[in-house]
Symmetry: C2
Subunit: 197 residues, 2 copies
């Protein structure tokens, strides 16, 4: 889901991405972190820059250049924004200013591509977690179902997690073993060339 805030009353588009003007002598990453903390009232699990946007369509603030950031938080986080802020499902979004629509698309695409290349999902989990929890995070972020056995084999091959000796019983059904994130070493991962269409 995506957190949007209310724009000024007179604007045509009611909702906007949370934003903040870059102040002199501040770094981009610091400003993004401040914006996230102020909007979410907590520190996100992950903040990453996506890219800059500077096409004809201007930002609502009148700024010519926008730099989009992705911030991930887990599902229980409430918004602490002074004013209205609401979570929207990514497939049921209200109308956005034109540039922001493009920014959001780019953020989601980029998130899914980066999932393959870094341990992003682990930031959203507590220190120990079940493999079903981990798989659910991946399915949420990718927006599609994954194959259980295959998911676990890949995970095992990548040496990213190690089992603890704890088990968690979650109501009915067999208890699940808890794992922790413990990346071992680099695979010699040289893939052949994929021609992406």
């Amino acid at each position: 889901m995506v957190l949007l805030v209310r724009g000024p009353a007179q604007s045509r588009e009611k909702w906007q991405l949370p934003w903040r003007s870059l102040r002199p002598d501040e770094t981009l990453d610091d400003e993004a972190a401040k914006l996230a903390r102020k909007t979410l009232d907590t520190t996100p699990a992950l903040i990453e820059q996506i890219r800059a946007f500077g096409d004809g369509r201007r930002h609502p603030s009148g700024s010519e250049l926008s730099v989009a950031f992705l911030a991930l938080v887990d599902g229980d986080t409430g918004a602490g924004f002074e004013g209205d802020a609401t979570w929207f499902a990514t497939d049921d979004l209200p109308s956005l200013p034109p540039r922001q629509r493009g920014m959001l698309e780019a953020v989601l695409t980029s998130l899914r591509m980066r999932l393959d290349h870094g341990p992003i999902a682990f930031h959203l989990l507590p220190p120990t977690f079940t493999l079903t929890q981990l798989q659910e995070i991946y399915e949420l972020l990718l927006g599609r179902r994954l194959h259980k056995a295959s998911f676990r084999r890949s995970l095992h091959a990548a040496w990213l997690v190690e089992p603890t000796d704890e088990w968690r019983s979650e109501g009915r059904g067999r208890p699940a073993q808890l794992f922790r994130y413990a990346p071992k070493k680099r695979r010699g991962g040289r893939r052949g060339v994929r021609f992406g269409n």
Copy 2:
């Protein structure tokens, strides 16, 4: 190779990435295209934004924010910059201003990741080309050797090229068939999850 230009005489670092200040009411992409045309004296085969850089280290011009672009040209392009401009091998670069060193790293990494996801290499080739030419482009951009038979099988499976009925004899050895870029359709390319370390 990377095209660098001479910085001002009094600066500690002799060489810099080509740059240009963003003018009011110009789009980022347009400004990047203008810079490329002015620096290279030709239109690049491809221009793509990588991301913005706004850390503590400032750009030599004093600008707080830099947006890095990648522009690709083929090997025969000369530099038309007013002033000195020289091509450097990516593994033998002179000293650069600190932020620009990071920008260049990010551009190269991003290029290699994007190679899998779009037909970037074809922009660097003439309308018809041999498969050996195509493979050499990929090897240059990836910085490693590829397996011939495997490369061709992947290419065939992706339906990206079609043979023409022309053959080109390049000195000694068997003539090579010419191909053209003719993407057919989308593969249903859903890969499983790769855990990239």
